[in-house]
């Protein structure tokens, strides 16, 4: 059953969605319909439509889109399909009302083909399709579905079997060259990666890089994938290679670098942010980033006996919804993630 229908709009017959949307616009001439993309949010969690509708209301302040929300209840065998439409409007410059359309679908029964056709027939033409798959990747995710998606957003931190799921996604990416995969775990490493890059612009940190001896990464237990993706990125970019195949669930790693072996420790801390701390030690020089959950800032530091530099930058937000808003602002082809993906999968296995 759908939990709360109050925020997902007016129920309409599926065959009349476009007509009803036109009627909605005709009611008020002062509104502007804005859209830069199709955003589909797919969930198999009961009550997700209301939650996701609330999310779209916030998101459309910054990202004009045609939103299509899909909730599938696979526990009910009987086939059904219901649809609702609404708009999310925001004032721009204190006068214009800028609105984005939302179509919500609730499906039960066997849905694979119906789901795909339902979604595709309601996309805004010529606009990219961003598809946020919430939760585990089920068998409804097929290569055929992947082939029409421009950007697939997932959160590997919520998966039971990330290694196996990444195998499936890698296959989908190989089959569809245009598919951009966006793992929110990777998005959660953004400010740490920007911070590392910024710190290593400094000559003192640069000089320490070839002498790197140890690295410590503190992460929240739910966000081990963030830590592994950060480690995969550091090692690929710096040219370090694992000295041995890591064991499943390993917390200690060893990498071979030109300057010698680097010992890496991953520490899970339930009080930590997704990524809590990164400490890179090279002789007397330490390069570190520490996330302060309370202030929402990351403290960047370079410390050596003769030199001390620090600055702060914003931390990555924790909620998936805010991460997606940021990700959509950044755009891009996410080619760096593709580059580090093999190393990440190696560390994951």
């Amino acid at each position: 059953m759908i939990q709360d229908l109050s925020d997902i709009g007016m129920e309409v017959p599926v065959s009349g969605i476009e007509k009803e949307l036109r009627n909605l616009w005709a009611q008020d001439e002062a509104r502007t319909n804005a859209s830069l993309m199709n955003l589909v949010i797919y969930s198999e969690k009961k009550g997700s439509l209301a939650e996701n509708s609330a999310f779209i209301r916030c998101l459309t302040q910054d990202h004009a889109c045609r939103a299509i929300l899909v909730e599938i209840d696979r526990s009910i065998e009987e086939k059904s399909l219901r649809a609702w439409i609404t708009t999310h409007c925001h004032l721009a410059n204190g006068k214009k009302s800028i609105c984005c359309e939302q179509v919500a679908f609730h499906l039960t029964g066997r849905v694979t083909g119906r789901f795909r056709n339902t979604v595709f027939s309601h996309l805004d033409s010529d606009l990219p399709l961003v598809f946020w798959w919430q939760g585990e990747l089920s068998d409804i995710f097929t290569e055929r579905l992947a082939s029409v998606i421009d950007r697939l957003i997932v959160d590997s931190s919520s998966w039971e079997q990330p290694a196996a799921t990444f195998d499936r996604l890698t296959e989908a990416m190989e089959a569809s060259s245009k598919l951009i995969l966006q793992d929110l775990a990777w998005t959660r490493t953004w400010q740490f990666r920007v911070g590392v890059a910024g710190l290593f612009d400094d000559p003192v940190a640069q000089a320490a890089l070839p002498k790197m001896e140890s690295i410590r990464i503190v992460h929240h237990p739910k966000h081990r994938n963030c830590a592994l993706q950060l480690l995969a990125w550091l090692s690929i970019q710096a040219g370090w290679n694992p000295t041995a195949k890591p064991e499943k669930g390993a917390t200690k790693f060893s990498f071979a670098a030109k300057g010698g072996e680097i010992a890496i420790v991953l520490e899970a801390d339930p009080n930590s942010a997704a990524l809590g701390e990164l400490v890179m030690s090279a002789g007397e020089t330490t390069v570190s980033l520490k996330c302060n959950k309370e202030s929402g800032m990351v403290l960047r530091k370079i410390e050596s006996p003769m030199y001390h530099a620090s600055s702060v930058s914003p931390a990555d937000p924790e909620p998936a919804t805010e991460l997606i808003a940021l990700q959509l602002s950044r755009g891009g082809k996410n080619s760096l993630f593709k580059k580090i993906l093999p190393r990440f999968r190696e560390l994951l296995s």
Binding site: H63, D201, Y307, S311, L336
Partner: protein, 509 residues
Amino acid sequence: MNPFREDLVSRSRPEPCSIVIFGATGDLTHRKLVPALYNLAVDGELPTGVRIIGFARRDKSDEEFRSGLEELNKKVSRSGHDDEVWSHLAENIFYHKSEFNDADGYKSLAERLDQIDEERGGKGNRLFYIASAPEFFDDILIQLKNAGLNEAKDGCWARVIVEKPFGTDLATAKHLNEVVNSTFHESATYRIDHYLGKETAQNLMVLRFANAIFEPLWNSRYISHMQITCAENLGMEGGRGGYYEKSGALRDMVQNHLLQLLSLVAMEPPTDLSADGVRDEKVKVIRSLRQWDTPEKVAENVVRAQYTAGHVDGKEVLGYRQEDRVSPESDTEAYVAVRLLIDTWRWSGVPFYIRMGKQLPKKSTEISVHFKDAPNVLFGALTGGVPGGNVLVIRIQPDEGISLRMVSKIPGTSLRLEPVKMDFHYSTSFGKGSPEAYERLLLDAIAGDATLFARRDEVEEAWRFIDHIEHAWHQSDNPPPMAEYVAGSWGPKEADDLIKKDGHDWRRL
């Protein structure tokens, strides 16, 4: 080489440096520069290890300087004010008291910078921002050179940002450029024009060269004319009359901002996106401007005017000559309209019109591209005919965006045509606010990307064009008259006549 930079940002890499701001107690530093650096810090874009040294004549401690900056940052910063971000930035802000012509002040500045460099491991990049009044430019540059601050250390760089005005005519611009270039190499000189840091100005090249539909039409075959308008609904409030009396609309806005926009909209595709690749093409446009080099040509192609008392935004306003710090006999123009011709293959016969004025009905800067009418074969005989041609409008400020006017059939059984508008607004399409122009430009200078800064030859070529007009107005025996317009109107009748001579009208904004 920093291996962690790959793919993080599609821009040149900003490096840690010391930024020395001359004229640090002034409005520009407090309202624009430091808030811009603060916002870069908020966005995590300011490199760790950036130090800001304010250089000015007033007696102040580091702490007093910081608290003054903080107070204003709280009021003007576009992203609000966060104490934690500010405290980290403030730790790296220092004040250096000295007269601009005091050699000892520069020696002690050099020592201070060396000390900072030493703390940073013996290396140091330096960015000098000359934000003082123009009369001190020479002194500052000469003293920097005498103190050896213009020389970069091994593996580092020393750059200078110069604020407008880049001279007051060709002779003074050349002089300033000579002083600048005898101190800093041209490649290390960044002449800032904040219009080029605006999102839409940057988008001009993208619009023209990343969309296949526009460039084939971007020539004399399809374009009837272009208009560049900069309208301001303010007069000489806040004592601006003193400055304006010495400059006027032509020198204050047209020589720099509006000719820069003209060059972007009219240039050929650059061979690449390098700073000189783009600037080579821009300067060719300015160099190809037909010169209005006699008073007669000026009278025919340029209109100058002053506003008389009227109403703007429902408020009664004074005439220009009655404004504070303005002479009652002033011959400074508060409005200028110029008809320009670019003698190139692409633009042969296409007039460009630039107009800039104070106390106009609203604030707006835009470029409008007016396309030629479609052949009048099919719809010419209709009642009402075809209502005007296609117009592409690029709005620079406010409400940055692009719109395209086209002709459409009005629904009904009869055939009636009316113009309709397709509109793209930055603010509604992209929720993310655009950074302030100074943020982008400061970051570019720190990263060594001079694309959005004016080069010496651009500045001098622009002055060459402007000087002829100024000479006709102020030094000829038969100067073209000064027209008048009522404050709150769209300018003088003479400006309407100027464009009407070619069969066009000013776009109604």
